[in-house]
Amino acid sequence: MPEKDTGLKIELSKVEKSFNELKVLKEINLSIKPGEFIAIVGRSGCGKSTLLRLISGLETVSNGLVFTDDQALKNIHPDTRIMFQDARLLPWKKVLSNVQIGTKSRGRGEAKAALAMVGLEDRANDWPIVLSGGQRQRIALARALAGEPRLLLLDEPLGALDALTSIEMQQLIETLWLEQKFTAILVTHDVSEAVALADRVLVIEDGTLSMDLSIPLERPRTKDSKFVYYEKKILDRVMGGKESHLHGAVTRLSRTM
């Protein structure tokens, strides 16, 4: 039996995915250590979300195998939680009942504790409709973490938030990840978000892994010259190595941090 209190170990071996004739992912090999924070970056339509959905078990591979804790994945792993770009709260349930869905006992006590974790315990009796986008994502995060997952998959969860809320959420995710030590995989198109959070950044291009870069920076990360160095390196790769266009993009991105 693997240790329950650490993150899930993930292994992908020659994973391929096609939709009809179209090959979205080609021969992906990847291993993720328990408790690691991975960011997957790429342009839109590169297959990064598909990769995340394969790891989650929401989609099945066309070829190859996905292993969680050395066992081939057949269905959604019970210790996996996913956060999507939209919070996907049930609009007909009050905030607390929404979080209750995520707890293992489906009890109110655990749900309240999870709400307190994201600092929204005072909104327990509100309808989701009255909350702001950022608050809804925090509730979704509370719901995801309420069941003490060993793998948290994040499918651009900050993509629809404004810059300030997004930074706040990044810090919250980082803090809770450091506390709970689950494995985290973040899919994003925002390179600086990836550098701020991840131990390792993967770049996907045309369905293949084109870069696998460790970010050995200390946490919490500040936007210093090393940070910008990694950011530029990854961005260059994403944009296909055309340096001349990138200077402006990098400085624009640094301003949003």
Binding site: S56, L58, I76, P78, T80, R81, I82, F84, D86, R88, L90, P91, W92, K93, I101, G102, D126, W127, P128, I129, V130, R143, G147
Partner: protein, 262 residues
Amino acid sequence: MGRLVQLIKNEWSIWMIPLILIILWQGLGQIGLIGHDILPTPIKVLKAFYHLSADGVLWENIGVSAKRAIVGLIVGGSIGFFLGMLNGLSRTSEKLLDSSIQMLRTIPHLALIPIVILWFGIGESSKLFLVALGVAFPIYLNTFHGIRSVDKGLIEMGKVYKLKSFHLIRSIILPGALPSILVGLRYALGIMWLSLIVAETISADSGIGYMAMNAREFMHMDIVVVSILLYALLGKLSDSIAKFFEKKWLQWHPNYHSDKSR
């Protein structure tokens, strides 16, 4: 102009037009522009209403009609809801049943009256059958459509959180389909009264429709008008009940959300 706008903003303004019409009707009747054998004045109608309710005939007939309506609604509504759920949840059952239901739906069910009378006679069951048949289709269609248009993202979320099928239906699919089901219910309530009126007018020995037909034979225009108005009031009442449930059950919905519920 400003005063008129103020008047329309007032909550009672929905009654303004009906009130004006009634006053006009009374006036025209009194000066003889509307003949008494064509349309009795509102005061005469009120008098007829008073006499009918005083000797109990009115309440008895309303009771009989309301019972038919409610039983028909429950029977037909349950069938429609059940079939809607079944076909909404299962593609196989949709494939097998939906086109048959659609074919049955297009038959104007009032055209079935001759056959219904032959099958069930003119007793209670023929009326129940017509009401149930009329009510079932709008409930079926809206339940089916409601279930199919539940946000796929929410269902996916439910699967990630390992909600089992019963739980998934109760917590996600049914509440998601509820707005549409309630629209179906409101529509069904309209059809319920319509079917009942026709059934009672053609063949009955009690009920509001019977009261109207009976009065017609004796040229009691005032009772005919009372019956028609009763249908209008009952229709409005059932619509208000449906609206009440919409407000109560759909508090979470942006269209029904009011700041009071916060």
